[in-house]
């Protein structure tokens, strides 16, 4: 058994009886530096109040309710979080009910979805929540039987006395367990004894999803609520000048037309009526900032790449000397466009601003950000704002922003009515917060033996922040290295897009390393392994990735894919470390009728312990499909400050016919979970581009691939 001693986490465990009977248990942030625990007896809780800090409750009829605090957007957290609690609790999964918790910063820590960080962050506290309840249930049974708790066993929702075969269900023990002092230390299970973790468990919302139950923000309805759409400036860099809303207001079902900031909101009694009425608005805009087009960005990128001043991100050794003395220098540039997040459920939020408080309901990856921004905007105390989380119809980073919730709150405060604001797909694609467009220049210096002795990377981007990840591989393995960046500030808004920065950086880096390996006369896989060996034996500067874990995924994917052994298939390799996890991929391309056809992608992921094998396999597969689709087709271009692509007719997403076979493997190493939702996406573009090069001799430097001249006629993903 493994014991977790008192930790310095700011956790606070509470426990008590609810009025309906049963055990409620959870963690809370507190200023205490030690793990403190407190028992609340039934009388200390307001009658019927279950609204206190809790991860789980057990009712007298054996139902275990597990609260899942983090927003669910398809990363499967609503199934995997409760699995961790249930594992340590030894619950009967068939009797577990999962409930999406509303925003509650008193009960829950880091109640957000982003950075593939939820499970790594909560792993230990979820285990403790389950283990603590199990301990108390076992102690309660021991008291009833007057035996030592150590002689008893918890299993499948029961405490069993192996000596005589007698048992109590958890429901029978719940009330007594609530009176047991909360342990200061709890023993966590040995990982090898996991029964539920690592198995394939169906999504807890499957039944609701396949029968069309209201789950999403867009499905939310409140008696008496109004519907609204908001027209925002078409072009970035423009602001509202004047609005003539008379014609729109005269249309059936229209309640009001309201202007705030640069927004013109049409409010009415149904979605279709407000959509129709917005077309009757006469709006004038005027210039407020730069009006940029994609052609401007192409020019700006060239200027920034040659700019003498840049922000240095990492510098090892003497790069200039290394390049001066090089036998061979390779210099390449890579560019990606803006991308829309395009979650299938467009942005929407419900808000009801009343005199006594604010009610918000909707899909958010960062509910507390939405609440705090609303508090600031309306001058309302945060405690007076409630936020109910719906299921999210995708997020991909778009719903990290609070803008769409804030708009709903502002509109509700102006019209003094409950209102649901819906964005159309066009609103969504024109509305910004894009994945930034970025261009990279890589330079490599090889010595006469083909050894990589110098490495330079300049990243330039439009509102990109730092478009490099300077401490990622191959940093640490090259003696002389310089990574710097320059950012262009633009009115076009950008934000985190699934696997921020690395979603394109990984492609550029892995495609470049492929070229460098071939220039050095080395196999691309062996080349990476040699660099990693150098990072291990003669590390240069700080190494912020785990060399052994990276080597293991490389070696495993080479083995699973039969790297270098296939005669009629061109294989391309890629590996990337992001969000604490390691993923290596091999793509296979076959030439058919003179055209490259993508047949298969192998992936080996080391994300530590896999909690739900079903969810995890799909998460990796979906990440690959996402990475592939956007490498092939995705782009938002701009003309005079306005997005050209505004819906799925010209913002192309990958479709059914275009996906190759995908084979997923996980490294079973018992390491605590390290992140799953994003790391499988970054390596895909590189693996595919490297395979295309091998098949056709054509190097791909820019995304999307289907806009590259020689690739325009190629239906890469489509079966011929």
């Amino acid at each position: 058994m493994e014991t977790i001693a008192k930790t310095n986490r700011r956790d606070f465990l509470k426990l008590g009886l609810v009025a309906s009977g049963g055990l409620v248990l959870g963690f809370q942030s507190s200023s205490s530096s030690a793990l403190g625990m407190e028992v609340i007896n039934g009388s200390a809780l307001p009658a019927g109040d279950v609204n206190f800090n809790s991860y789980l409750s057990i009712s007298s009829d054996d139902l275990v309710t597990i609260f899942s605090p983090n927003p669910e957007l398809g990363q499967n957290i609503k199934t995997s979080f409760p699995m961790v609690v249930a594992e340590e609790l030894e619950a009967d999964w068939k009797k577990v009910k999962v409930v999406q918790a509303h925003l509650d910063t008193k009960k829950y820590d880091r109640q957000l979805t982003g950075g593939s960080g939820a499970v790594p962050h909560s792993w230990e506290r979820l285990r403790k929540a389950g283990a603590t309840a199990k301990y108390m249930l076992t102690e309660a049974a021991a008291k009833k039987w007057s035996v030592s708790a150590s002689a008893l066993k918890a299993e499948n929702g029961k405490v069993i006395n192996p000596a005589n075969g007698k048992s109590f269900t958890y429901g029978e023990l719940a009330n007594d367990a609530a009176l047991i002092p909360v342990p200061t230390d709890v023993k966590l299970k040995d990982k090898k004894d996991f029964k539920l973790i690592g198995t394939a468990v169906s999504n807890v919302d499957n039944k609701e999803m396949i029968t069309g139950k209201p789950l999403y923000g867009l499905d939310f309805y409140r008696e008496g609520m109004l519907y609204a759409v908001i027209t925002r400036p078409e072009s970035f860099g423009m602001k509202l000048k004047s609005v003539d809303s008379a014609a729109a207001k005269a249309l059936p079902g229209i309640v009001d037309v309201v202007t705030f900031k640069n927004n013109v909101a049409v409010v009415g009694k149904s979605t279709w009526e407000v959509l129709k009425a917005r077309k009757a608005l006469k709006i004038e805009y005027e210039k407020e900032g730069n009006i940029e087009s994609t052609s401007d960005h192409d020019r700006i990128f060239k200027e920034l790449l040659d700019k003498p001043e840049a922000t240095v991100r990492r510098k090892d050794g003497d790069v200039e000397a290394a390049f001066k003395g090089a036998a061979q220098v390779i210099k390449r540039e890579y560019q990606c466009p803006f991308l829309s997040h395009a979650p299938m459920e467009p942005m929407n939020f419900f808000a009801h601003v009343r005199a006594d408080g604010v009610e918000l309901v909707g899909p958010s990856q960062t509910p507390d950000r939405a609440r705090m921004a609303t508090a600031t905007l309306l001058g309302v105390a945060p405690e007076k704002i409630t936020l109910e989380l719906t299921r999210l119809g995708g997020g991909f980073g778009r719903r990290l922003q609070a803008d769409y919730a804030l708009e709903a709150a502002e509109l509700s405060s102006m019209i003094k009515a409950p209102v649901k604001v819906t964005w159309t797909r066009e609103d969504d694609m024109m509305g910004g917060s894009y994945r930034p467009a970025v261009r990279y220049r890589f330079e490599a210096a090889l010595d006469p033996t083909g050894k990589l002795v110098g490495y330079k990377l300049r990243g330039v981007g439009i509102n990109s922040g730092n478009p490099t990840r300077e401490d990622n591989f191959p940093s640490g393995s090259v003696d002389n290295l310089l990574i710097d960046s320059v950012e262009h500030q633009s009115p076009i808004t950008t934000g985190a897009w699934r696997a921020p920065i690395t979603n394109f950086l990984a492609f550029a880096e892995q495609a470049f390393l492929d070229e460098v390996a071939l220039a050095a006369g080395k196999d691309p896989v062996k080349f990476r392994l040699e660099l990693l060996d150098r990072a291990k034996t003669t590390p240069v500067g700080a190494i912020k990735y785990d060399i052994d874990r990276m080597k293991k995924v490389i070696e495993t994917v080479a083995e699973k894919s039969g790297w270098g052994t296939k005669k009629n298939l061109a294989q391309g390799f890629s590996v990337y470390f992001s969000h604490r996890s390691y993923v290596a991929q091999v793509a296979e391309v076959e030439m058919k009728k003179g055209q490259p056809v993508l047949k298969k992608i192998y992936a080996v992921s080391d994300c530590g312990i896999v909690i739900n094998m079903s969810g995890a396999k799909q998460q990796v597969t979906g990440g690959i499909v996402d990475g592939l689709g956007h490498s092939l087709y995705g782009q938002v271009t701009f003309k005079d400050g306005a997005a050209v692509q505004r819906n799925f007719n010209n913002y192309r997403l990958i479709r059914f016919k275009e996906v190759p076979e995908v084979e997923v493997h996980f490294i079973d190493n018992g390491i605590d979970p390290t992140g799953l939702g994003e790391p499988a996406l970054p390596p895909t573009g590189g693996a595919v581009a490297n395979a295309i090069f091998k098949a056709t001799g054509k190097r791909l430097y820019n995304q999307p691939f289907n806009q590259v001249e020689e690739m325009k006629a190629v239906k890469l993903g489509e079966k011929i």
Binding site: I210, D219, D626
Partner: protein
């Protein structure tokens, strides 16, 4: 505004809307049947797929005025207990990620299997190519259709 009597999931429903109102918004806003999703509004993504007389149609681009006596089936009316073989297969294969597109996927798949109980891979791919899944669950959608086909033909 005009009054329309339509047949939805075996029930006669009367709504008072303008003739150009897409069936999607009638279902969602007037009838509270929100299982049918809005994704693009231009018949490109398939999230709004319902059956009209057994054929998969895009409800976002179908004005209420043309529905007339047609039998409309939505995800809510596919089966009473949520146990249509396609729904069962979706559960068993554990298809959904975010789940938003899945009602549309299921409606397209059930229309395919009703007409073609034993579809070839190519028939599945062609039928499903109009339904976008942003999460990338296409492999499981296919697996579930193959499984559903086996259930139907048992």
């Amino acid at each position: 505004m005009a009054s329309y009597s339509i047949n939805v999931n075996g029930e006669k429903r009367t709504v008072d809307v303008s003739p150009d109102t897409p069936l999607l918004w009638v279902l969602r806003d007037s009838l509270g049947l929100v299982g049918t999703k809005y994704g693009c509004g231009i018949a490109q993504c398939g999230a709004c797929t319902v059956h009209l007389n057994g054929t998969a149609v895009r409800s976002c681009s179908l004005p209420i005025s043309v529905v007339k006596e047609g039998k409309v089936t939505t995800i809510e009316g596919l089966s009473k207990e949520g146990d249509h073989p396609v729904q069962q297969a979706w559960m068993e294969v554990d298809v959904p990620q975010c789940g938003y597109c899945q009602a549309g996927q299921i409606m397209t798949a059930t229309a395919l299997l009703a007409k073609t109980p034993k579809p070839t891979d190519e028939q599945i791919e062609t039928a499903m190519n109009g339904n976008i899944c942003r999460c990338g669950t296409y492999h499981r959608v296919k697996e579930a259709i193959v499984l559903a086909s086996a259930k139907i033909n048992k």
